[in-house]
Amino acid sequence: MMQWIKIGFRNLVKNRRRSLATLIAIAIGFCAVGLFRGYTAATFDGLRRSAIRGEGLGHLTIYRQGWLENGRSDTKKFLLSPSEIEKILKIAKSDPHVQLATPQLHVAGLVSNGRTSHIFLAKGVVPADFRTITGGLSARRGLKGTDLSSNTPYGVLLARDLAGQLNLPPKSDGVIMATTLDGQMNALDIQVRGTYDTGTAATNDKYILLPYRFAQMLYDTKRADCIVLLLDDWQATTAIRHLLAGQLAAAGLHCEIRSWDQLSVFYQKVKNMFDMIFLFIFLIVLVIVVMSTINTMGMSVMERTREIGTLRALGLKRRGVCLLFAIEGAILGLLGCLGGVILNGAFWAAIKIAAPSYIPPGVSTPVPLTVELLPRHMLTLALFLTLFSMAAAIWPARRAARLSMVEALGHV
């Protein structure tokens, strides 16, 4: 085998200009795919943290069976009762991976400053629990004023644009109105404790955060629509989800559990879009790699036809000829990928040092451009491109191996 590797390598060196052009094509392709994958990985990571922590979705959310489909049309029927809430919390908290389990109630209605009113969507949360969920990301919410507190049950946070439209700055008073579960109109005074940035322009003029008990008062109920769980490791999400589903069913609770990625529509859309772009880029790179290798190896095969005839005359079988060129293609692919790794590392370091930022569509503040270095992904990519490079070399080699030896030996 070493002899064939030696022949392959030396032939690449012999035709160094041609080999170099192919190596550069592979390296640039590898780098492009590697950087984009690193960028999407960083973006997905950021979106995941933003969904779990920033949006306060936690890792898992438990609903009564049917809530997601019919909850809005028959809210009362699909809310979790106090006894169900208690049971679910007890089961969830018994799992060592569950750091936090907290009930939430989402309400909707009108918010008014006394002169004008605006529709709102509000999330009723246990203030201390919500702070735990949002964790370090709470600082990114651009909070002006003070955060929610259980000590001020009527104190709420208004999304930035909503507060602006209603002219309700921190420490100002307003009124929220909604229909209770029994169909009565209910109005409660609020005090704006602060304003915050939801992160997206589409929700900044609608969202309100208010204490859980206050949301219950607005709907005149002791119920919740969901229980949010925070886990110690996001990668345990699927396993815990299955485990909890079994435990809740065993306890006679008819619930459905959704993970953060199922609930975050934005994450799903962005992920699907990036996955599609990645596939597109990868296919382009693959075509470039395969075509470059076929071109290089095709020329090499043509120039070495007599050598192939000689090797066949010496007893090399047809598959041996294919192997010889496959090895050469693999070396080409491998060296190209090695160049790609170096190029990828250099760009990664440059981005790390320059730390550029940009404003993505639908986001209200600049975000840093981050690219992750993914050794495992690079290894897989190198393996993939090397295999394709190898396969691309076999194609012209097969033709050469099938040439009649008399023709090959007489080739000039």
Binding site: M2, Q3, K6, I7, R10, N11, K14, R306, E307, G309, T310, L311, R312, A313, L314, G315, L316, K317, R318, G320, S404, M405, V406, L409
Partner: protein, 227 residues
């Protein structure tokens, strides 16, 4: 008997005409013979050697080499036969340009899976025989034509084949080098009993051979035994 050819023909189609490169040839070569094939250009010398060497297939007739009927051979079996039982020396040397002399000589053994160390040891032995041990690490482009052809002879001998086929091995060499090469082949033939079948135009070289086969228009003319 090492080589047997019975009623062997090889034809090529040229438009609507069929051209006989070899025309119903019968030939037998025993082990240890030193045979020179001669004749004018286009007489069928190379075709004859290609058929004996399992490089080409006859249009009709039977070729047997070392008790193996080449008609019955698959491509893989023919490759094994060439690798183990036949050594080749070509007019244009046909060395692999990116390999050194010793690496070129090692090739047939490495094709059949002999370890690198063993192949190198045996290759150095053969280079010693052809007087090129000192040039073992040189690549073909740094060697003269005569040296390259001696490397090719060493390569042909590496697997100790009972048969060596040489197609015009001296055509690109000057007279002195050509005679030296033929002497070397004759020496190996006598000392190791290796059968040599080679083609040439050169009458001076034919004076060195034990048996001459004259080809004309694809047919063998009467043999001439040389003392």
């Amino acid at each position: 008997m090492l080589i047997s050819m019975q009623q062997v023909s090889k034809t090529y189609a040229m438009g609507e005409t069929t051209v006989y490169a070899l025309d119903h040839i019968d030939l037998a070569v025993d082990k240890g013979e030193f045979v020179g094939v001669w004749g004018p250009s286009g007489s069928g010398k190379t075709t004859l050697l290609n058929l004996i060497g399992a490089i080409d297939n006859p249009t009709s007739g039977a070729v047997t080499v070392n008790d193996c009927n080449l008609d019955d051979c698959t491509d893989n079996r023919a490759s094994e036969l060439r690798n183990r039982f036949i050594g080749f020396v070509f007019q244009h040397y046909n060395l692999v340009p990116v390999l050194s002399a010793v690496e070129n000589v090692m090739l047939p053994l490495q094709i059949c899976g002999v370890s690198t160390a063993e192949a190198r040891r045996r290759a150095m032995d053969r280079l010693e025989i052809v007087g090129l041990a000192a040039q073992a690490r040189r690549r073909p482009d740094r060697m003269s034509g005569g040296q390259q052809q001696r490397v090719a002879v060493a390569r042909a001998l590496i697997a100790d084949p009972p048969l060596v086929i040489a197609d015009e091995p001296t055509a690109n060499l000057d007279s002195e080098t050509a005679l030296h090469l033929i002497s070397l082949m004759r020496k190996i033939n006598k000392e190791q009993g290796t059968t040599f079948v080679f083609s040439t135009h050169d009458q001076r070289l034919l004076a060195q051979v034990q048996r001459r086969i004259r080809l004309q228009d694809g047919r063998i003319q009467p043999d001439m035994e040389v003392a």
